[in-house]
Subunit: 186 residues, 2 copies
């Protein structure tokens, strides 16, 4: 098996920093002695929460995303704040983005969202028994709610209709768990 | 339905630029008159290519990713270069990363990889009838090859074993097409 870390870090500096993410530039020495520069989008881990009501409806948000100038179907998501437990952050995103509370929040999987340029890890949670209330959103969040039957949500994720990649994958990673809880819906 | 674009761009500048991606900072005026700053990871679109041999084996690469300091199972992927056709880039990534040639390259879907902070679009292609040869890799690419039966590859993507999110989603978005071509493998 290949070595864990083929580079030695010679120097590292932040080119830009913000509350949401930062840009870190590393000077590296490769195994063959050559030097390379790697610039990394440094970002906290984030949670993606798949909300399902007791009646078996998947709750999606329709959200404007400035970076792509497009409205996307997504599930609630957000950065994990320092010192916060990911499951607590999942509950908080649910509350803030859809005014939701859940009977149960289940950790499902994790993945890297952009491992070629950034270090973000996505933690996927399934929120069961979700009831909807009044969301409290940030001023840059433009959001509409939309609920679909679970099977329809899975179909939308499988066919590219959910254009936010991490949301689509989060939903598909929940498929086995959803099938166990809602066998009649699949 | 909500307006297409809730912001007016007041100013825009690049904070940092490179061959692979750049950082653009925009000053925006929201519909309520308030001003916000949005910093966008500006990145060319990229292709993710799911390579399958005539015998029904999915070809994965096991690649070191410096930003996450981890080895990940992935499918070949890379930025679309200016003036290049995405399907041509898919063929090129196949050739460069696994030394592969395909009988057929099918466009399957597209998604955003990081729509909260960046504008990257992922175009997913399914490459059928792939034969493997000698790859020609970039010096920062550390790659091993691994082939698995299609059903096993789909299972790995569904259960989080393929930790590169866009690769896992690319494989799952190909499921219907794979099922049509390899009904006995599913």
């Amino acid at each position: 098996m290949s070595p864990r870390h083929p580079y030695e870090v010679i120097a590292s500096e932040h080119l830009w920093q913000s509350r949401w993410y930062s840009l870190r530039q590393d000077r590296l020495r490769a195994a063959d002695g050559s030097e390379v520069t790697y610039t990394v989008v440094e970002k906290p881990a984030a949670v993606w929460v798949v909300p399902v009501t007791a009646q078996g409806a998947l709750v999606l948000i329709h959200q404007y995303r400035y970076p792509v100038d497009d409205w996307c179907l997504e599930v609630p998501a957000g950065n994990v704040e320092p010192g916060c437990d990911p499951a607590q952050m999942a509950a908080r995103e649910l509350r803030e983005e859809i005014g939701g509370t859940a009977e149960q929040i289940i950790p499902v999987a994790e993945f890297y969202t952009m491992n070629g340029i950034g270090n973000e890890i996505a933690w996927v949670f399934l929120a069961l028994g979700v009831t909807l209330g009044q969301p409290s959103r940030e001023p840059t969040e433009h959001i509409d709610l939309c609920t679909v039957p679970i099977a329809e949500g899975l179909r939308m994720a499988r066919t590219g209709q959910i254009k936010d990649g991490p949301s689509a994958l989060a939903i598909l990673l929940c498929a086995a768990e959803l099938s166990a809880h809602f066998p009649e819906s699949m």
